[in-house]
């Protein structure tokens, strides 16, 4: 434990054991019924709703002292909220942390799935703002629960069809709805649709926590997850049509960085660990100059 006195005042991983038990029950139920949204008595956490309180509670309920935790936001380990959540758990749980995807036993993420394939024994925890994939088609929870019960997903297909009629293609680029094991339509959280194929058949356990909306759902390992589409308009994962300017990766998701006010821009991997790992292995992108490392 750290020499921080506030850490002593709280239970391991902040939440009391009763609360963790309640959350674990919801997680187990979620794993038993993949894609089904399990209501749970979400607690107020010491960070605001919208900052990942659902993910934090799921992580708190899953952590054991032997865990090695990785936290990413937008794919990066050093974004402020990722730093803040990682700090929270190293303070309240004293667990080891890492930035390396393959070394982590539990990864909490916001908006991305790591590029490095996950392996058996890992848990990926997603932070979810709006767990209900039908929410923007039907604002009432009482209605959407009924729609899931009856597998009444016509409205979603109509929405996707209207996109095609209007734009010539499905105009959803992130938060792209999926069908889980042919039963529940599920919101994959606001990951870019580029990441959707990684949801399916993953050897890792995938858990989704929505704190404000009080919902947990899950994908057990090797669950079949299909992005919704039409035969004549198949699902297409997409990314910027560039290579990473730092590591040269051609098939990783890229952030666009504006470098001046003359239209200059560069593209870099959003997954910082993946990008750094490739550079360590000697891969170089268009703009990589190792001597500037110190300045960073």
């Amino acid at each position: 434990m750290k020499d921080d006195s506030t850490a002593e005042a709280y239970n391991f991983a902040y939440l009391d054991e009763q609360t963790k038990r309640m959350i674990r029950r919801a997680i187990l139920k979620g794993l038993a019924v993949p894609g089904y949204q399990v209501p749970f008595a979400s607690r107020e956490m010491p960070m605001p709703y919208g900052w990942g309180t659902g993910g934090v509670q799921v992580t708190a309920a899953c952590l054991v002292p032997e865990d090695r935790l990785k936290v990413i936001d937008q794919g990066a380990d050093d974004t402020t909220n990722a730093v803040s959540i990682r700090k929270f758990f190293s303070r309240t749980a004293g667990v080891a942390t890492t930035e390396r995807t393959q070394d982590a036993t539990l990864i909490q993420t916001r908006h991305r799935i790591p590029e490095t394939p996950l392996h058996v024994g890992q848990i990926l925890v997603y932070q979810v703002p709006i767990p209900e994939p039908l929410r923007f088609l039907e604002p009432r929870e009482t209605e959407t629960r009924k729609m899931h019960e009856l597998e009444e997903y016509g409205l979603m297909h109509v929405k996707l069809y209207e996109d095609i009629a209007r734009h010539g293609q499905i105009a959803t680029s992130y938060d792209y709805p999926v069908m889980v094991e042919g039963r529940y339509v599920m919101d994959p959280s606001p990951i870019p649709k580029f990441d959707n194929p990684k949801l399916s058949g993953s050897p890792a356990i995938q858990l989704f926590g929505a704190g404000r909306e009080q919902r947990i759902y899950a994908l057990p390992p090797f669950t079949k997850v299909v992005s919704l589409d039409f035969d004549d308009h198949p699902f297409q994962p997409s990314k910027a049509a560039h290579d990473c300017d730092l590591c040269g990766a051609a098939r990783s998701y890229l952030d666009e960085v504006i470098t001046d006010d003359q239209g200059g821009r560069m593209f870099v991997c959003s997954d910082t660990d993946f990008c750094a790992g490739r550079r360590e292995m000697g891969h170089k992108g268009r703009l990589w100059a190792p001597e500037t490392e110190g300045a960073a």
Partner: protein, 360 residues
């Protein structure tokens, strides 16, 4: 050359240090103490206790100090603290009939048993800035009188003696607990009242106001508004009887509303109810109006699509800690999603341009 955005950790530490400095402000001005806030910002303390769902004036005052006077932030601090506390016992329902009353007014009867007690109210003050306060002089003391003895009957009970108002049937089922179970809809009235009493004062006020202006009108009269201290009693299993463990200040508002009835069932007034920690009368009155508006189904009224009648709309949006969190989270990084949207938009535009050129 591009330098990766690093140093999130240092940025956070620096931001916190600066925040602490800003909170303190000019150090040549004496620092506010928590007791000063507790005693002199009492209505703010009350609001933080009510919306934080924790009765502790000292902690609420500390939260206000820490939050630099941002009351929603203070409510959030209290909620985050309260969630770590063990639930030791459930009290008996408080008996507001035996309240030690500081203020008790009825808008429906000119005089009534127990009398009208104005108490410490802004109601008849002239809202003129009092520059004497800026001079920080000693204030004159208010006169004192004998305490009102014994119980003070509820106006509602007086009305009910003649059957003029609907019965409020006692319900001894353990109430649901919004803080321990996920909200389930449709909600029972106890659950609705819990959500409203900790709901944002501004939101509940506006909803209540909207019913007065015709969006789900319920024609409310303030039958009674009372503010004072009530005893909190808890059963001690070892003793086998209830023991008073302390008292809390609450504001209770009961409204008398337009009637229900039919040819066979004599017409009766209906009730709206509000109960809030501390002296929080705006909130208590607003709460009772919203409570009444939400009861349309049970009373066989029409749903007129008024926001205040819509249980899911009211309950899912009343909590300011949830609302402010979700609202403000859009300032967090969304590079990844935005990038996905950018690519999509570029693709759609390229397609439209190609089509246009093809047509020309």
């Amino acid at each position: 050359m591009y330098v990766a955005v690093k140093g999130g950790e240092r940025a956070i530490d620096n931001a916190h240090a600066w925040l602490a400095e800003e909170r303190r402000g000019d150090t040549s001005v004496p620092e506010l103490s928590v007791p000063q806030i507790r005693e002199q910002m009492k209505l703010a303390v009350n609001r933080v206790m009510a919306e934080g769902s924790l009765y502790d004036p000292d902690l609420a005052a500390l939260a206000i100090k820490q939050a630099r006077g941002d009351l929603i932030e203070a409510v959030f601090l209290i909620r985050a603290y309260r969630t770590t506390l063990p639930r030791l016992a459930s009290s008996h329902p408080v008996d507001t009939g035996t309240m030690e009353v500081d203020r008790r007014i009825s808008a429906t009867f000119k005089d009534l048993p127990g009398g009208q007690v104005l108490g410490p109210t802004f109601d008849y003050t002239h809202r003129l800035l009092d520059f004497k306060l800026a001079a920080e002089g000693a204030m004159p003391r208010a006169g004192t009188g004998a305490a009102t003895p014994g119980t003070m009957p509820h106006v509602m009970d007086i009305l009910n003696r003649d059957g003029l108002i609907e019965d409020a049937m006692p319900d001894n089922a353990p109430p649901p607990d919004l803080t321990r179970e996920p909200m389930e809809l449709p909600a029972s009235r106890p659950l609705r009242l819990q959500a409203i009493t900790r709901g944002d004062e501004g939101f509940i006020l506006s909803l209540a106001y909207s019913t007065q202006r015709g969006y789900g009108r319920t024609h409310a009269f303030v039958g009674e508004l009372r503010i004072g201290r009530v005893a909190v009693e808890v059963d001690i299993p070892e003793l086998g009887f209830a023991v008073e463990i302390g008292e809390v200040e609450v504001t209770e508002c009961e409204t008398v509303n337009q009637f229900v009835g039919s040819k066979t069932k004599p017409a009766q007034f209906t009730r709206g109810y509000g109960l809030v920690f501390g002296q929080s009368e705006r909130k208590a009155i607003a709460m009772s109006l919203v409570d009444r508006a939400l009861r349309w189904k049970e009373l066989g009224e029409d749903f007129t699509a008024a926001p205040a009648q819509d249980e899911e709309f009211v309950l899912m949006h009343a909590d300011n800690v949830q609302a402010t969190g979700f609202l403000e989270h859009i300032k967090l990084p969304h590079y990844v999603d935005f990038q996905a949207e950018l690519e999509l938009l570029r693709k759609l535009r390229a397609k439209a341009h190609a089509l246009k050129e093809g047509a020309e």
